[in-house]
Symmetry: C2
Subunit: 504 residues, 2 copies
């Protein structure tokens, strides 16, 4: 026992050093996206690469493998939900994944995607797919090589999906998406046959400082802890974590669009509150982070969509918003405002899409990346395939590739495969978990209507956040809902909300 | 030759990795002092310690020693001022220093001084020397152990002084300070016998944003490059470098004291412009930083005192300052303002001291730390010894230890010995170098009077900044002035400036 304690302690010491390197790299990334002067760019990229490489080297050290070998029987002798059992189990899984990818491949991958990302930042504004096409070709090749480090898959995307959403496969995501699509397509059709909502009230001039202050008040009420975080401005909003004591969010403000900053703030605050709720004892270990891309997105979507786009929420906050922007909003009714922030339309841009059409955008990308990995779609045909799918699925056509296949950073800055399914899984899970919270506490909507979020936040913290990565997403879903992932609460949520809004 | 090239390349690769770790640590330190929420503190300290330890481990790696052994004859075969010769020579010196201190001692030292620093932050406001005395006792013991890693010294402080100001020893600093003191004491006496300058014009209300904007305009004119830096607010202003492409400064603003932010900004900008002027080819190597504490301070003092406290400077900028703060300054004459920002008085606080008395503050600390290291002054007697020296040297008595021996962070956050002499050496050097610039370009003062700094800045860059650490301070002084360090230009500068101000 003393021997196991000492080995466990050594493992934790090693994991803490790795966490320190990753935490440092996150600080450098945050600074890069918020305050760094241009002149710092070259060295910054190199510094982050060095930290990442050292963290990786230290993690795949055979001494870590030996410790895990020695500790695994001990971990298995403990109850499944014992913290040490979970630490050994989760670290083992991550170690096995990490050691299967040769460092040389990983190095080549990071080096290449840094170049591809940089090229994309110039190619998109120039509508120049031809420059990035050969880079994307190489990314595809490297993505396949990464997947091939995990032989025995059913679909070549399976290992890549598994990295982000453990337990999911191409086939299970496809089945899930098919089921969802069947419900969404008629819903989108019925809604978009109606007169579109008038969102002109959001497109007036709203001074930046007041927008920011309002968003900060809202997420303080949610329970975002400014003693352990802060919000800064950036180009592309994100959440980042340096330790469980320092979890920051960023936002961007458009003075002619009230929705931009507010909903990015509530979205990122949702991600951050998930991390802030993790058991502090898990800090600096593989348990001290959200368990999957899908579960993480479920929390950003809960706070952004289910809470801060709900009518109940605005019953409390709309008078405050009117008091903040009296000239702009005093003549706008709550109903008009609520319809504006939930306007459904067939559009070109995923990140601007409403709740109902959003998942159709995701499915297009998911299907295309699977086809690229399979080899049934070649890079040169990607622009046309993109346009064709938008035409057939959403009935819209981008005037160029800028808002077509050059739109999202994911393929240019990372692997092709595994990046998109988490968004829709997150939407599905947000309603599944929220539904469960309502069963336990039917008073939650009434509380939201008074600007009180404690009951909801505590339920999420106690049932989801606190566990960090202790349980995989499938294990967590089973624990929380007593069954597997299912879409009916999400469909129910959409039908009820948009049924009321559009009098369906 | 190819073999030497390849070894040199390997050395540079290793040094770059070490520089990346140190640069990352600097980013974490900057964030800690500017934006970090309280909750981030614990992990941040640990992360910085991890980065520091890894950088140290990588530097003292015997493989680095082997490379240096192999490269030294090659370096010595090159001209002395060849970049590669300098890189090998300077890295060798730093390596020899670093490897003489056992990692365990260094680890204990960092761990202890982190605790002592933290205790000091609470002890100072509480005027509680007794809490920190035992910690200071240990710091003294560890400082002696550090010095003892370098046997053969004349005075135990010599190795500690040498770390910061290579080539200086206790004896040479004492001789220099005695010479300076002999000139300063009568000057201070003559000035302080007169009616003190009226600085009430500085103590009005000056809104923060306008103060900051004015300071930024000034240092932009100096040539501080905002493409490679930025200024943020903090508690204790400092300059920090992440790479030669990202060199930042911080400042603090007092709305009831116009001098605070402005002169901290010009001071830190001086430090930063030194680093910004270093040959970019030296980035991420031991050549890519200022060569000594004294030379670094000389540049902060040049831009803060010689330039931005000069009457010539304000002939151009005072009308702009009046336009910025018309209500506060329109009735204040340039003469009154200039006397106010150069008010000489016997005071308690080093960092607030004027140019004439400042060095007396430094000498008190330097003498006391030498006595502590020698053992002729025990920690328990430090408070009284401090008071006694302030009484005899400056004729003032602090009401408590808050503004006595608890005043400066240096002994609480680092070694005892070697920390203070650089400030006065910097003052001496600022005038020595400036004097040399004037010999080459007598038009400099006239240009300053027009808000033009290009000639001065270029001369400093070409003669001092560009070299980084290629030459030691003594070598640099010899190169620039044709002789050793001497005080007469500094005495001449003070006598001329204060002779005019006080009609001596």
């Amino acid at each position: 026992m003393a021997e196991m304690d000492s080995k466990l302690q050594e493992l934790k010491t090693r994991l803490m050093e790795i966490s320190d390197l990753n935490g440092a790299s996150a600080v450098l990334g945050w600074d890069q996206a918020t305050y760094m002067p241009r002149g710092g760019a070259a060295a910054r990229g190199r510094q982050m690469a060095t930290l990442g490489r050292l963290a990786q080297e230290k993690f795949i050290d055979p001494a870590v493998g030996k410790l895990l070998d020695d500790l695994t029987p001990y971990g298995e002798s403990l109850p499944f939900d014992h913290d040490d059992a979970a630490l050994i189990r989760v670290t083992r899984r991550e170690y096995d994944n990490a050691t299967k990818i040769p460092p040389s491949l990983l190095g080549e991958f990071y080096q290449h995607t840094a170049i591809a990302y940089d090229a994309w930042t110039r190619a998109r504004p120039a509508n120049d797919f031809s420059t990035v096409a050969p880079l994307l070709e190489k990314t595809l090749d490297l993505s396949r090589q990464m997947a091939d480090c995990f032989p025995g898959y059913d679909h070549i995307a399976d290992p890549l999906i598994d990295f982000a959403d453990y337990g999911m496969k191409a086939a299970s995501v496809r089945a899930l998406f098919a089921e969802l699509r069947e419900q969404l397509v008629p819903l989108v059709r019925t809604i978009t046959e109606q007169e579109p909502a008038d969102d002109s009230c959001l497109k007036q001039h709203f001074p930046e400082d007041k927008q920011l202050a309002f968003g900060v008040e809202v997420i303080k009420d949610f329970g975002y802890d400014f003693e352990r975080g802060r919000q800064d401005k950036t180009h592309h909003p994100f959440m980042t974590k340096f330790s469980l004591g320092d979890i920051r969010i960023t936002t961007r403000v458009k003075e002619n669009d009230l929705g931009e900053a507010l909903f990015s703030t509530t979205h990122e605050a949702g991600h951050a509150m998930y991390e802030m709720g993790i058991n502090m004892a898990y800090d600096a270990t593989p348990l001290g982070g959200g368990t999957s891309a899908g579960v993480h997105e479920s929390q950003s979507r809960t706070w952004e969509n289910i809470v801060s786009r709900s009518r109940t929420f605005w019953e409390h906050y709309y008078p405050k918003l009117q008091a903040t922007f009296p000239e702009q909003l005093n003549k706008v009714s709550l109903d008009t405002f609520h319809r504006a922030i939930n306007k459904v339309q067939k559009s070109l841009i995923r990140t601007d899409a409403d709740e109902v059409t959003y998942n159709l955008h995701v499915m297009i990308r998911f299907d295309l990346e699977l086809q690229m990995l399979e080899g049934s779609l070649s890079i040169k045909d990607l622009p046309e395939a993109w346009h064709a799918r938008y035409k057939s699925d959403l009935g819209v056509q981008a005037p160029s590739n800028v808002d077509g296949c050059l739109q999202d950073v994911h393929w240019y800055g990372g692997v092709i495969g595994g990046a998109f399914q988490g968004y829709t899984i997150g939407n599905i899970l947000s309603a599944l978990f929220y539904n469960q919270a309502l069963k336990a506490h039917p008073e939650i909507p009434a509380e939201i209507g008074k600007g009180k979020f404690g009951t909801l936040h505590n339920w999420l913290r106690n049932n989801i956040y606190t566990h960090g990565s202790k349980f995989t997403a499938p294990e967590l879903i089973e624990r929380v809902t007593g069954g597997p992932l299912r879409i009916d609460p999400y469909i129910g949520y959409l039908k009820e909300k948009y049924g009321e809004l559009y009098k369906l």
